[in-house]
Structures are given as structure tokens and as C-alpha cells.
């Protein structure tokens, strides 16, 4: 295998894992942008999605119905989460909101343990996602291709949504200046619900792709992805959608780069090195890679 081929191989891996981080980071960033809430329970929406899929597949639903159904179920779960847990404490100090999100995480994860048990379950992966393509010396897993393409399509739709539609522009307006957004006659509750629904729908897609990659589901499966997504959102520029996307892909590239370049006996230090670089990034650009603007207070 030539160096170019090896590079291409790793590029696909990096884009694939970066896609998942980006999808997760977008939901975190949208909610943070509007509410100043770091929603750690966002990761558990992946778990909700995967178990919903498991259940629907168990009842014999075909994949092409299960995927949209799971996106809708997870979006509703996100809306419910906001309505039950976060709306009553809206405007509370940031710490109170953060602690509430930990509480939601604990409730969801332990609820899942009570319902389905703590043991992980095998996830039935459809054949078309098991396929591995061989292009010359390259081997590309179809799940990676699907992850990259799905993310690309979703990003295009998301961009159109937040730049062209009233509700999308209202969402950015609410993140920019909540008082002014209210004075425009924007129904804030509806905008916040929409942000949760969209972020959760993207988390559902990320959750399903993640589950297919690792082949199993368990109640704690959202923990590491949400941490990674949080890091991605912060290095990209927290609270903005472009920042979340850039951060997700940067994190994906760094991880794959170290995985590819580090000798095997160093692999345990991979995350430490990745996070070390991210600390340097934040020292140089405290507002993240995209978030260069400092808000002017009047």
C-alpha cells in the first residue's frame, strides 16, 4: 500500500468519525447558543435512539422505516427533555442548568438500566452496512461512506434551514440576542423546542451510526461521544453551528492522525495527546477556531 493510499484510507476514517462528532456537537452548540445550557444529557439521546431502533427492529419493522421513526422518536424525546427538565429552570444560573443536565443524564441512564438492564446488547446490523469496499489497496467500510454522505446531506439541509427559513433565522437571532428576539415577536418557546428537536434528530443519526460501528448498545453508550462532542464544540467556537462542525472534524482528524502515526505501544496516550493539542488551540484562540469575534457589550 502506497503512502497516498494509506493517507486516503485514514482520510476516510477521519471524515467518518469527524462526522459523528460534528452531528453531536451541533445539538450541543444550538442549545448552548440559545439557552447558555451545556446539555450533557445530549449523549443519552444517542442511547434513546439506539434502543428505540433495537425495539422497532425486534418487532420486525424494516430498516427504511426504522431510521426515520427513530429520528422522530428521539426528536420528541429531546422536546420532552426541554419541556420537563429545562424550561422550569430557564434563566437560572449556568451552574444550576448544568447540574440539571447531569440529573437528566443520571435519570435517563438509570432508567434505561431498569428497563432493559445494564448489559450491552448486540445490534442487528443490516448487510449493506457490513459491506467493505475494496478499491485497489483501499478498504472502505460502507458504514463510513454512509456516515460521511448522511452528514454531508444533513449539513446542507441544516445550513438552508438556519439561513433561509423564518424559524431557522429566529433560532440564530435568539442565540444572538434573546431580548431582541422576544421583542421581534419570535415565539421563544417554539424556537427552543425546534432547537432541541433538530439537535436530537441529529443525535439520533449519530447514535445509529455509532451503534452500527461498534455493533452493540448499552445504557452508557452516550457518555464518551458527548464528551468528545463537547470538546469539539469548544475548540470550534462554542455556541455556533459552523464552530461545532469544524471542531467535530478537527477532533476526528487529530484522533485518526495520532492513531495512524503513533507506534502501537503509545496508543494508550492517544487521547492525552489529542487533548494536549486542543489545549494549545484554545490558548491561541480562546474563542475557538471559528469563534473569532468577541461580543461587544453596550
Amino acid at each position: 500500500m502506497s503512502l497516498t493510499e494509506y493517507g486516503l484510507q485514514q482520510l476516510v476514517n477521519a471524515l467518518s468519525i469527524g462526522s459523528l462528532y460534528a452531528l453531536m456537537a451541533i445539538g450541543l452548540a444550538m442549545v448552548f447558543g440559545i439557552l447558555r445550557l451545556i446539555n450533557f444529557a445530549h449523549g443519552d439521546l444517542m442511547m434513546v435512539a439506539s434502543y428505540s431502533a433495537l425495539g422497532l427492529l425486534f418487532f420486525g419493522w424494516p430498516y427504511w422505516i426504522v431510521v426515520p421513526a427513530v429520528v422522530v422518536i428521539t426528536a420528541l424525546a429531546g422536546i420532552l427533555m426541554e419541556r420537563i427538565a429545562y424550561r422550569p429552570i430557564r434563566g437560572a444560573p449556568d451552574v444550576a442548568m448544568l447540574l440539571t443536565s447531569f440529573a437528566v443524564t443520571i435519570i435517563l441512564e438509570n432508567g434505561a438500566v431498569m428497563l432493559v438492564g445494564a448489559r450491552s446488547r448486540a445490534f442487528p446490523i443490516p448487510d449493506f452496512l457490513r459491506t467493505v469496499y475494496h478499491l485497489g489497496n483501499l478498504t472502505v467500510a460502507s458504514v463510513n461512506v454512509v456516515a460521511i454522505l448522511a452528514t454531508a446531506v444533513l449539513l446542507v439541509f441544516l445550513t438552508l434551514f438556519v439561513t433561509r427559513t423564518d424559524i431557522g433565522i429566529s433560532m440564530r437571532a435568539a442565540a444572538d440576542d434573546m431580548t431582541a428576539a422576544q421583542l421581534m415577536g419570535i415565539p421563544i418557546n417554539r424556537v427552543i423546542a425546534a432547537a432541541f428537536a433538530i439537535g436530537s434528530g441529529l443525535a439520533a443519526v449519530a447514535g445509529l451510526l455509532w451503534t452500527v460501528k461498534v455493533g452493540k448498545v448499552d445504557p452508557y453508550m452516550g457518555f464518551f461521544p458527548v464528551l468528545k462532542a463537547f470538546v469539539a464544540a469548544v475548540i470550534g467556537g462554542f455556541g455556533t453551528i459552523p464552530g461545532a462542525v469544524v471542531g467535530g472534524f478537527v477532533l476526528g482528524f487529530l484522533e485518526i492522525m495520532f492513531q495512524a502515526l503513533l507506534p502501537g505501544e503509545w496508543s494508550a496516550y492517544r487521547d492525552a495527546l489529542v487533548f494536549g493539542i486542543l489545549i494549545v488551540v484554545l490558548l491561541v484562540r480562546p474563542n475557538g477556531i471559528v469563534g473569532a469575534r468577541v461580543r461587544e457589550e453596550i
Partner: protein, 234 residues
């Protein structure tokens, strides 16, 4: 048109308004004057629904509105252009104006109002693609007023439109206020520049630490000894 009765508003435990009553008739330009902390901004915030009064009533077109949400109040035809402009700095001028009309469904009327605000502030039409945050202070104030007008208000609440602007821009803003009044819209104006405010207003109310101490026609207030001493630097 607007009747405020015995309004009491608190910030936490601190009383900001101590029983304010005022009324604004259709087509009038009424001004609230007073020093910092007198409660002028709080009065506007209560009318537009950003703050809930502890007691008292706000009656608009014969119906109470003090329990409504800001977006419901905007729909009834009250638009609040807040102090400090509060334009959307990360959105384009075009999107800022679009959001001003976000709750309207009459596309033709929205286009007409676009043309009208461009005629009031021609510079905005040249800046449509720019981000709000890149405008100068004066342009941001123009955008804030234009954006408020896009919701097709019958009553415009204007908070400190001249604050921090160069004198020439202050003149522009006040010329536009006269235009808006001429178009038949009603205006409740809060202004630290009492002299200018009383020049354009029909009537005025003077606030001091959350209470109304005076109200009269603008003409009478201009020559009132107390007003002159406290607010006109006379």
C-alpha cells in the same frame, strides 16, 4: 389607545415603578423624561411584556395586555425599540429587517414597509448584506428603528434613540421620528435629551425614582421651571 394604571414593577426586591399611571392617545407622540433610574425603561419593558408588573394594569385598545407574552403583544401592534439597540450583530441587515416582520403574513404589506424604511434610512438599503455588528453606531440605531417599524406597529415604544450618537445623526433620527408620527403611528418616547424630546412631543410625563411627578403638554413642560432646572439644564 394605551392606558397604564397604577403600575408597580419590581426587580427582585427592589421597587422600580411605584404606581405609574399614564395614557397615550392614538396619533400622539408622548415622551417620558427623567434621570437615570427614574423608571422610564422599566415602564417600556412592562408595556412590551419583557417584565411582569406586580400590580396595576396596562390596557391597550380596551383590553388588558399585562399578562401577555412579548410575542403576543407585538402581534397586537406594539413594537419596542430597546435602549442599546439590541440589533442582531451576527445576522445581516436584511435578516434583521426580515425578523422585524417575522410574525406577519401579509407579504405585500411587508414589501411596502421595506420600501418605506428604506426611504426613511437610505443607508440601510446599501448595507443589506452586511452583518449588523459591522455597522456604525448610528447605522445600528437606524436599523433598530427600521426593524421595529417592520412589525407594522400602531404604537412604537422608543427607548433612548439618540443615546451616544453624534449631533448630526441625532438630527436625522429626530427628523425620522417626525416622519413616523406623520404616518399616523403613535409613539411613546423615552429620551435623556429632554430638550429634543419636548421639541417633537405632544405631551410629556416626568418620572422621578419610580413615580410620576408631572405631566403636561410638551409646550408647558418646556417652560416649566422645575423641568427647566432639572432636565433642560436651564
Amino acid at each position: 389607545m394605551l392606558d397604564v394604571r397604577n403600575l408597580e414593577v419590581y426587580y427582585g426586591g427592589i421597587r422600580a415603578l411605584d404606581g405609574i399611571s399614564l395614557h397615550v392617545a392614538e396619533g400622539e407622540l408622548v415622551t417620558l423624561i427623567g434621570s437615570n433610574g427614574a423608571g422610564k425603561t422599566t415602564t417600556l419593558r412592562a408595556i412590551s411584556g419583557l417584565m411582569r408588573p406586580r400590580s396595576g394594569e396596562i390596557i391597550y385598545d380596551g383590553a388588558p395586555i399585562h399578562a401577555l407574552s412579548p410575542y403576543q403583544i407585538v402581534r397586537r401592534g406594539i413594537s419596542h425599540c430597546p435602549e442599546g439597540r439590541h440589533i442582531f450583530t451576527n445576522l445581516t441587515v436584511d435578516d434583521n429587517l426580515r425578523l422585524g416582520a417575522v410574525q406577519r403574513r401579509d407579504a405585500a404589506g411587508v414589501r411596502r414597509d421595506r420600501d418605506w424604511v428604506y426611504s426613511l434610512f437610505p443607508v440601510l438599503e446599501e448595507r443589506l448584506g452586511q452583518l449588523g455588528g459591522t455597522l456604525s453606531g448610528g447605522e445600528q440605531q437606524m436599523l433598530a428603528i427600521a426593524r421595529s417599524l417592520m412589525s407594522q406597529p400602531r404604537l412604537l415604544l422608543l427607548d433612548e434613540p439618540s443615546l451616544g450618537l453624534a449631533p448630526i445623526l441625532v438630527d436625522t433620527i429626530f427628523a425620522v421620528l417626525r416622519e413616523i408620527k406623520k404616518s399616523g403611528r403613535t409613539i411613546l418616547l423615552v429620551e435623556q435629551n429632554a430638550y429634543l424630546a419636548l421639541e417633537v412631543a405632544d405631551r410629556g410625563y416626568v418620572l422621578e425614582t419610580g413615580r410620576l411627578i408631572l405631566h403636561d403638554t410638551a409646550q408647558a413642560l418646556r417652560t416649566n421651571a422645575q423641568v427647566e432646572r432639572s432636565y433642560l439644564g436651564g
